[in-house]
């Protein structure tokens, strides 16, 4: 963690805000179009992009020490593990669904 702090310009912060708003409107518009199974991935891709913008630029992870970057990634990594293994179980069960209803 270095002593000299990164000071972003106001313009850059407003630019991030603008990008976030554009993406928000975009995701609403896309959701009105039926893309079949693609709707969810698109919505998620937009959300992940937005989250990355906030994390990297608003939260300044881009300019932070490695340790902070690793920490920020760790939470999502372990969340991913939880989903991956739980859904492995469910998706590969032959009795899909809550039976009997």
């Amino acid at each position: 963690m270095s002593h000299q702090h990164h000071i972003p310009t106001k313009a850059s912060l407003f630019a991030v805000f603008g990008a976030l708003m554009v993406l928000t409107v975009l995701t609403v518009l896309v959701s009105r179009v039926n893309l079949g199974y693609l709707n969810l991935p698109v919505a998620l891709a937009v959300a992940v992009t937005k989250a990355l913008l906030v994390i990297l630029l608003f939260m300044e992870v881009k300019y932070s020490p490695k340790l902070v970057q690793v920490t920020a990634a760790a939470g999502f990594l372990f969340f991913g593990i939880m989903i991956l293994y739980t859904m492995t179980d469910y998706l590969s069960r032959n009795m899909i669904g809550v039976a009997g209803r």
Binding site: T88, D89, R93
Partner: protein, 547 residues
């Protein structure tokens, strides 16, 4: 003074400093508002011991009931509440905080040469959270108890049980946050507060194992917290999450619960492993064999530990693919554990082994943890687990790792650092006697349970079939062992308390051990060190350059 000490004992008579952390300030308030990690450690020592006593009393009730096959002593309802209380108290209020919150709190700053933990106020808040959680737990007990088992399985806990599930869940939830903040404090402290020269490859293994433990506390505990929150919402407001009548899936609860609770078993054992590394090195007068491997094994256990939780769910009609994956990964977690066991053994080899009381506990740990761990592997094998799941085999497995493992390590650690904590020496003969009693009593209590489980006796049974004669014999053995074990636990309480008042002064380093904590006075001053120490030697610098 911060130069590295060699093994020659100071022959001058040991003394206690005039001012130290215990007498620096006076009055109850100076304790309840203390920010000194060492005093907070003592607050934990008292409260955690009290919970151990409570949990132990419940254990004795269980063993009394099971001495006869009929459910004669306790009613079925009471029995169910008793084993639930035993499990909840022992896991959430005893074992998880035991080593980290007492020994870890006391030693992490001392071992890395810091004045305190990074966030002393959060540290104190953790203790208050722990007590608040404990009060909820106790409130649940005195208002009638809970009967869900410590695992809170749905839909029993949300739809069928009419006991105090919510109070208990809230208690565990709050205690969880205590554990999260303790872990957070340790990680930040280890990253930012090391003394000059205390590089990562010089950290004592106790610190490495607490680092790994803290990672699990932070990554796992929030999940069980939110799961308990969902449970409470379902039980009180009829929100649908797990109850099939509300459209939910009860198995999801198990996934979420074990996502935390399997890693949590490593929260319980890793700190113990750290204690063992310290003791083994000190009483073999040798550096721990393969220091780096042992340090990395801690991280390995923490990481792989997150990938195996499904082995608690083999019989829930888990898919074969998932079962095989979880089973395989569970075998994998044995490798770092094996590294540790083998490296400790290698450290003993040709060491000048001194069988002092902490060492007796450490050797007990190695043997009993190995048995517990290997039987864990039996359970990780799908075919065997189908038979032994929810039988006494599982009960025996986890008592071997938790009691034979962690509890022995805890006792070993308390004995090892007692002179540092109190500045006093206890009676070695009594301590050795207690260690032997615990070892014998423990095996007599829990070994028969392996046999019982293999014969098919299910766990959480308040009565068992009378026609199985051998079952009663084994259960009586187990109950007899439990009373011996209980004696073994009461003894240290007596002679340690006695020593705190009447013991001889210990001096800074009664064991002639190596490590920053032994370089300051016993008890240490409030700021731990007169001058910030500068570290120039690796950990366990015993008998340098020799064999």
């Amino acid at each position: 003074m911060h130069d590295v000490r060699t093994l020659e004992h100071d022959s001058s008579a040991p003394t206690t400093p005039d001012v130290h952390y215990l007498n620096a300030t006076h009055g109850a308030l100076s304790w309840f508002f203390t920010k000194d990690h060492k005093r907070i450690a003592l607050l934990y020592l008292y409260s955690v011991s009290a919970f151990f006593l409570v949990g132990g009393i419940f254990a004795m009730l269980i063993r009394l009931e099971l001495a006869t096959p009929q459910g004669d002593l306790l009613s079925a309802e009471t029995y169910n509440k008793v084993f639930t209380a035993h499990g909840v108290v022992m896991v959430f209020f005893f074992l998880i905080p035991s080593i980290p919150a007492i020994l870890g709190n006391f030693l992490v700053p001392l071992m890395i040469g810091a004045k305190d933990l990074a966030f002393p106020r959060i540290n104190l808040a953790s203790w208050y959270l722990y007590m608040a959680g404990g009060l909820f737990g106790i409130a649940a007990l005195v208002s009638g108890g809970v009967d869900t088992g410590w695992t809170f399985y749905t839909p029993y806990s949300t739809a069928a049980s009419n006991t105090h599930v919510v109070l208990t869940a809230v208690g565990a939830f709050i205690a969880g946050f205590s554990s999260i903040f303790t872990g957070l404090n340790f990680i930040v402290t280890i990253h930012t507060m090391r003394a000059p020269g205390m590089t990562w490859d010089r950290l004592p293994l106790f610190i490495w194992s607490h680092y790994a433990t803290s990672l699990i506390m932070m990554l796992g505990t929030p999940v069980v917290a939110v799961t308990l929150m969902m449970l409470v919402l379902e039980r009180t407001l009829k929100f649908g999450f797990f109850n099939p009548d509300l459209g939910g899936d009860p198995v999801l609860f198990q996934h979420l619960f074990w996502f935390y609770s399997h890693p949590a078993v490593y929260i319980m054992v890793l700190p113990g492993m750290g204690v063992i590394s310290e003791i083994i090195a000190a009483f073999s007068r040798k550096p721990v064999f393969g220091y780096k491997m042992v340090a990395m094994a801690s991280l390995g256990i923490a990481l792989i530990g997150f990938l195996v939780w499904g082995h608690h769910m083999f019989t829930t009609s888990q898919s074969t693919l998932a079962a095989v994956t979880f089973s395989f990964l569970s075998f994998l977690v044995a490798i770092p554990s094996a590294i540790k066991v083998f490296n400790w053994t290698a450290t003993l080899y040709r060491g000048s082994v001194l069988l002092a009381s902490p060492m007796l506990y450490a050797l007990g740990f190695i043997g009993l943890f190995t048995i517990g761990g290997l039987t864990g592997l039996f359970l990780a094998a799908i075919g065997l687990d189908i038979h032994m799941h929810d039988t006494y085999f599982v009960v025996a497995h986890f008592h071997y790792v938790m009691v034979g493992g962690t509890l022995l390590a805890y006792l070993g650690g308390i004995h090892y650092w007692w002179p540092k904590i109190t500045g006093k020496l206890y009676s070695e003969p009594w301590a050795k006697t207690a260690a032997v009693i615990v070892f014998v009593g423990f095996n007599l209590t829990f070994f028969p349970q392996f046999v019982l489980g293999y014969m098919g006796m299910p766990r959480r049974y308040h009565a068992y079939p009378t026609e199985e004669l051998s079952w009663q014999v084994l259960n009586i053995l187990s109950s007899a062992g439990a009373s011996i074990l209980g004696m073994g636990f009461i003894l240290p309480v007596i002679y340690l308390t006695w020593s705190a008042f009447r013991g001889r002064p210990a001096g800074p380093n009664p064991w002639g051990a190596f490590g920053l904590e032994w370089e300051t006075t016993s008890p240490p001053p409030t700021a731990n060190f007169e001058v910030t120490p500068i570290v120039t030697k690796p950990a366990y610098y015993y008998a340098p350059e020799e064999h």
